[in-house]
């Protein structure tokens, strides 16, 4: 396959084509789904191959992708990409332009401790069947499910600047949930929450200790039926890592994808309140807030050697000591903003066009443990486990509901509360952050499901976070 990719690049290395890149991926996906204790689906798409060719001609991108790797199809795909660029350039005023980059030639092969694609299938099913059965053993639990997805992708990337890399990675996404009902109201609890994807193999599934947590989520879901709701208008919130990862994702991650500044995503994902003039001076958060994009973190789902336009992996400091400094960019957009490309141009499969995407998007650690932070909080709530999320077109006004909250009084947890809903305005919220837990609480939390682009792509990525405290947040929103 490497030869095939190299041959295409050789064919595209002609003066009329300013730049071209070619990607090839082989993707394995397997998913298992239990509902109310019974296996509903076991599905696999293995060895799924695709190829994508992107060319820059007359200052306009053209792209074509295919799953058919016959010579005839590849020739057709190449011609389609060229024709798409040429036609597109007839409706193009501002020509795409970017700086050359030194070539990278490298290979990265990740080996998980327990390869989910070669482990015994019966053992794998039995592992989840056992959990699925346990979740059904209480009459107040009216619904439950257990799911797991396993992923492996081999990728070759090559471009006309001489970059040639290949890589192999493994990711897992296990989850369980229960819903308790008293006939009138329903409350659900998940484990380990919505940012539950990890880079690695089955060892990462075991690390979540599902069996140990089944009784806990059943009890919490049932207890929520009789728990009180939040009464205050505003309160101090400590946000747990799993939900904070999503808060970071929605209100900073997407907001600092610079393609949005130029309206490239207006038709679907939306705009951003961030403007180029804010770089270097806008107070995005309090002084404690340091946010960075780092595709060199091997434990994250966003690790790579180069992104999907040949930019080597790197860390970019997006917010430093509270001030907005940088953006997540492509080579084209970095040039438009006078920045260095941040290595964030990524596609899900080879037959999809790369877009500005989060890789490992992280909130830098502060100091101290979660227990200490709770002890130092006079009055407030610890909230975690996302239930509802929503943010506006400009990534400015968000509203989240978590499955559960724990009331804190004089540094102690005194009970649980029903589904706290809180609302905020992005910079006001991040400026209200007055504590972030330390390295001991910091970890990479991942997802398989970040949607962007048209045709849509769902991307794997990670967020490094530790629990953090936000002062005086609006917590009492009712439907």
């Amino acid at each position: 396959m490497k030869k095939l990719v190299q041959d295409i690049i050789t064919n595209l290395s002609v003066p009329s084509i300013t730049f071209a890149d070619v990607r090839f991926t082989t993707t394995d996906d397997e998913s298992i789904y239990f509902e109310k204790g019974n296996l509903r689906y076991k599905d696999a798409s293995l060895d799924s191959k695709s190829l994508g060719i992107r060319v820059l001609i007359n200052g306009c991108w053209g792209f074509a992708g295919t799953t058919d790797l016959s010579k005839k199809s590849i020739d057709y795909t190449m011609l389609k990409a060229i024709s798409n660029a040429k036609h597109g350039s007839l409706f193009k005023r501002e020509k795409v332009d970017f700086k050359a980059i030194d070539p990278t030639i490298a290979s990265y092969m990740h080996t998980p401790k327990e390869n989910p694609f070669i482990m015994d299938s019966e053992e794998k099913i039995a592992y989840f069947a056992n959990i699925a059965t346990k979740l059904t053993k209480n009459e107040k639990i009216v619904y439950s499910n257990v799911s797991a997805s396993f992923y492996r992708q081999y990728k070759i990337y090559a471009n006309t600047e001489g970059t040639f890399t290949d890589s192999l990675v493994y990711d897992v996404l296990p989850s369980m949930m229960v819903m308790a009902s008293d006939g009138r109201q329903n409350y659900s609890r998940k484990w380990p929450g919505d940012m539950n994807a990890r880079r690695g193999g089955f060892e990462k599934v075991r690390a979540f200790e599902f069996e140990k947590n089944t009784d806990r989520i059943i009890k919490e879901a049932i207890d929520l039926l009789s728990a009180p709701s939040i009464e205050e208008e505003r309160a101090d919130l400590i946000i747990g890592a799993s939900h904070l990862a999503l808060q970071l994702h929605e209100s900073v991650g997407h907001a600092t994808e610079a393609d949005r500044i130029f309206g490239m995503e207006i038709s679907y994902a939306g705009k951003t309140f961030v403007k180029p003039t804010m770089l270097g001076n806008f107070q995005y958060g309090s002084e404690l807030v340091n946010i960075f994009s780092d595709s060199t973190l091997e434990n994250g789902l966003g690790f790579h050697i180069v992104d999907d336009e040949g930019v080597p992996a790197r860390r970019a400091d997006i917010v430093k000591n509270g001030i907005l400094q940088d953006q997540q960019t492509s080579r084209e957009i970095a040039q438009m903003l006078g920045l260095e490309p941040s290595s964030n141009m990524l596609a899900t499969h080879a037959d999809e066009i790369p877009l500005v995407r989060m890789s490992n998007f992280c909130l830098g650690a502060g100091k101290g443990s979660l227990d200490e932070l709770i002890k130092n909080t006079e009055n407030g709530y610890f909230v975690d486990f996302t239930k509802t999320w929503s943010i506006d077109d400009n990534r400015y006004n968000f509203q989240f509901t978590t499955e559960i909250g724990w009331k804190i009084k004089d540094g102690e947890i005194v009970g649980i509360v029903k589904e706290p809903t809180y609302f905020g305005i992005t910079p006001e919220f991040w400026n209200s952050c007055d504590a972030i837990c330390g390295e001991e609480e910091w970890d990479l939390h991942g997802t398989f499901h970040c949607g962007k682009g048209e045709p849509g792509q769902v991307k794997h990525l990670s967020h490094g976070v530790a629990p953090a405290r936000f002062r005086n947040v609006v917590v009492n929103v009712k439907a």
Partner: protein, 444 residues
């Protein structure tokens, strides 16, 4: 699908009577133009061929998909699956795969990738960009043509072909000055009905409204006029969540035991109508069941859940194959202009963004407005309003409909998470009282 390949599938079914097979062979092609700032962002062509297979043995099942399948790769996977299936646990609720062998009348569908060539797309976009330029607006959006073919073959004798070739066009005009945005969309399988001049006329009308001052409004209850795509989106969330047989099984709908009861006022009728000439038509649902006209609400009375084969068996219900992809709401007796004129103070909402359920059982939801929210004062659209957040129960919205337009409008929907599939709804403008705005985004 080539005849030899189809024969092989039938041979596998014949040779293995102790198993049941469900084969879905699909060939999907798209030409996708994305534009921004009145110029091309990128052009994509993509083609994917796949075979999705599910094998059943008694109450055990196993699925797999193969991209770009060959007879060899298929036989290898089938052999493997017939062995591994033995080790799987049973699903005691599973009874049988789809049994509906009735066929829809075959319709000839043009390949709109060919009908709507890249040259044509570029010429339309150039005309549209030129038309909005004098107002200091630029166009942003997508112009998509798909050509899809799925052939379903099963052990229960289903042999059905589904073809789609929808056109999906969405253009937003965005102000160079303050980013105020308005939207125009087109979704149909009839390329001849794409009329760039009427699209331009409509978009310019919206741009004229969008040139007024931008203001903020306080949270609270408002009388609102919802554009067809907004009421359509609320209703579709409600239908998929509260009216599906799966929600009944999951104990997550208040409609349990309410078939035949008056749920909403008599002015509300909703039909899942896959052959309605206004919208993208479907012959079959995803399982191959004939997709027929199914009333969901008739004069406010709840008539049908959406019931697929699995939950029909599990819950002992009659399968109807409805899937809520072709929702059509009744029209009323009001001219749209009259609806605006009779509003003393209110909001006009053009489009919605990022909705999510807070409590699906109660149909409570939060989300935002976008692409043009306007203040109505003394019967006129007077000002642009910042995008607003609403926190509402969809059932309250339907209960609070006070006026319905006498005309329906079609708008496209896309499933952007799977393979980009396109459907459309037909809805009128509606006026709704006591609509809860929970906060402002302070941006447009």
């Amino acid at each position: 699908m080539q005849d030899t390949f189809k024969e092989k599938l039938l041979e596998i079914i014949d040779k293995n009577p102790s198993f049941k097979f469900l084969f879905a062979y699909s060939d999907w092609e798209t030409d996708f133009l994305r534009f921004y700032r009145s110029q091309t962002n990128y052009n994509i062509s993509k083609r994917a061929t796949a075979l999705n297979t599910t094998i059943y043995k008694g109450k055990k099942s196993l699925s797999f998909s193969i991209t770009n399948p060959t007879i060899e790769s298929l036989l290898e996977k089938v052999d493997e699956a017939m062995i591994t299936i033995d080790a799987l646990p049973e699903d005691p609720d599973f009874v049988d795969i789809e049994k509906d062998t009735r066929k829809a009348e075959e319709r000839i569908k043009a390949n709109n990738i060919e009908q709507m060539s890249l040259e044509k797309k570029i010429s339309y976009l150039t005309k549209l960009a030129d038309a909005v330029e004098p107002y200091k607006f630029k166009i942003y959006g997508t112009f998509i043509c798909n050509n899809e073919y799925t052939h379903l073959i099963t052990s229960n004798g289903l042999d059905k072909i589904m073809r789609f070739s929808p056109i999906y066009f969405e253009a937003k005009a965005v102000s160079d000055i303050n980013q105020v945005t308005v939207l125009e969309a087109f979704g149909s399988e009839n390329a001849l009905s794409f009329d760039i001049d009427s699209i331009i006329k409509s978009l310019i009308g919206k741009i004229k409204n969008a040139q007024s001052e931008v203001v903020d409004v306080d949270p609270g209850e408002y009388e609102v006029i919802l554009a067809p795509r907004c009421i359509g989106e609320y209703i579709s969330y409600y239908t998929w969540s509260c009216c599906s047989a799966s929600s009944l099984d999951h104990k997550n709908t208040l409609l349990e035991g309410k078939l035949g009861e008056q749920i909403f006022p008599a002015n509300f009728t909703l039909i899942d109508d896959p052959r309605n000439p206004m919208i993208v038509n479907f012959d079959y649902n995803g399982e191959g069941h004939l997709y027929e006209k199914t009333p969901i609400f008739e004069n406010g009375v709840f008539k049908n859940f959406l019931v697929d084969s699995y939950y029909a068996n599990k819950l002992n219900m009659t399968e109807n194959g409805a899937q809520g992809a072709c929702l059509v709401m009744n029209t009323g007796d009001k001219e749209f202009d009259e609806m605006i004129k009779s509003t003393k103070k209110g909001l006009f909402i053009s489009s919605l963004h990022y909705m999510n359920f807070i409590n699906p059982k109660e149909s409570s939801i939060t989300g935002l407005t976008r692409d043009g929210t306007f203040l109505i004062e003394d019967g006129k659209l007077t000002k642009v309003v910042n995008n607003l957040r609403f926190t509402v129960k969809i059932s309250d919205i339907i209960n609070n409909i006070t006026e319905i337009e006498n005309k329906a409008h079609t708008f496209p929907q896309s499933d952007n998470y799977g393979q980009f599939s396109i459907n459309s709804f037909s809805m009128p403008h509606v006026k709704v009282k006591a609509f809860n705005i929970s906060s402002s985004t302070k941006t447009v």
